[in-house]
């Protein structure tokens, strides 16, 4: 019944499928990103309240959503790794961690740089900022745990367990932080995020950048995972053949 899953979990199949797919994904990704960013930076009328600094939103919002999405994907991979012992899932989860931490950190940095001109401060202990900070801590903890193990197998199993513990815990952390914030903050000063009122000419570049960043995540993920596959499958025949044929340049 799970035959297809095992087939999909075959590193060779993944490698072969992505070889043809990756260049196209990369081209589409760069196209979307360049169109979206140029459009967002130069061709969208300035916000009547925030002026030009709202252009940071075009990277900030996709990064925030992306970081959470990446965690969800990493958790699915960790579950597949734990339940069905699919090695490929772990290789993907490993690549997710570095990218997720980057997206999370970028979300915080861009948010901070956006906060200074709009709220007058780089950092407030707002619920969303605080949850994002904690998500970053969890990403870092998972990477730290994995690299602390000498045995790669144990390290990836341990990282998977921690990822799954995080899945249960992160929503609780989020709600605790929201509650804590309402206790301490009173009315939030985030009155400016009236996204729904924005006309299409404001959000359409965000659509391009958002899709572009999803594409970017997947192309980086695939490239990293392919490296991991080459390293982990180095004893298998197909990798040895691939590497003996000179057409595979470094």
């Amino acid at each position: 019944m799970w035959q297809w899953l095992y087939r999909l979990g075959s590193p060779k199949l993944f490698y072969d499928m992505t070889t043809g797919f990756l260049p196209w994904l990369t081209i589409v990704t760069y196209f979307l990103l360049i169109v979206g960013l140029v459009w967002g930076l130069g061709f969208v009328p300035p916000d009547y309240q925030m002026g030009d600094n709202f252009r940071i939103a075009y990277i900030h919002i996709p990064m925030s959503v992306g970081a959470m999405g990446i965690y969800a994907m990493m958790a699915c991979m960790a579950a597949m790794h734990m339940i069905w012992n699919i090695k490929l899932a772990d290789l993907v989860a490993r690549s997710c961690a570095a990218l997720g931490a980057t997206y999370c950190a970028l979300s915080l940095v861009t948010g901070s740089l956006w906060g200074k001109p709009t709220w007058g401060t780089y950092w407030i202990w707002d619920a969303r900022l605080t949850s994002m900070l904690i998500l970053l801590f969890v990403f870092i903890a998972i990477m730290a745990l994995r690299s602390a193990y000498d045995s790669e197998n144990s390290g990836s199993k341990a990282a998977s367990v921690l990822t799954l513990v995080g899945v249960v815990n992160l929503p609780i952390i989020h709600y605790s932080v929201v509650w804590w914030n309402t206790l301490h903050q009173g009315d939030s000063i985030l009155g400016v995020s009236s996204q729904s009122a924005n006309p299409p000419e404001v959000w359409s570049p965000a659509f391009f950048v958002g899709l572009g960043l999803i594409g970017f995540f997947f192309q980086a993920l695939i490239r990293r995972t392919r490296n991991e596959i080459l390293l982990h499958e180095r004893r298998s025949q197909w990798v040895q053949q691939l590497l003996t044929s000179k057409q595979l340049q470094e």
Partner: protein
């Protein structure tokens, strides 16, 4: 068709006075993205070199 919203290049670069924040955010973004473009390539070169070296060692 969207119009370019700035009168001049200098105007564009100053971002309505928020140049530091807007370009700062985009600079962080660009550096991280470039890192994630370059890093897998370097990793790949390292892995291929390592695996080829091991194959040669095994053949001897």
């Amino acid at each position: 068709m969207p119009q370019f919203q700035f009168d001049s290049l200098g105007d564009f670069l100053s971002m309505g006075g928020d140049a530091f924040f807007v370009w700062g955010a985009y600079a962080f973004f660009a550096v991280s993205m470039i890192w994630h473009i370059i890093q897998p390539g370097m990793q790949r070169r390292k892995v291929i070199r390592l695996v080829r070296a091991r194959m040669q060692r095994d053949q001897q």
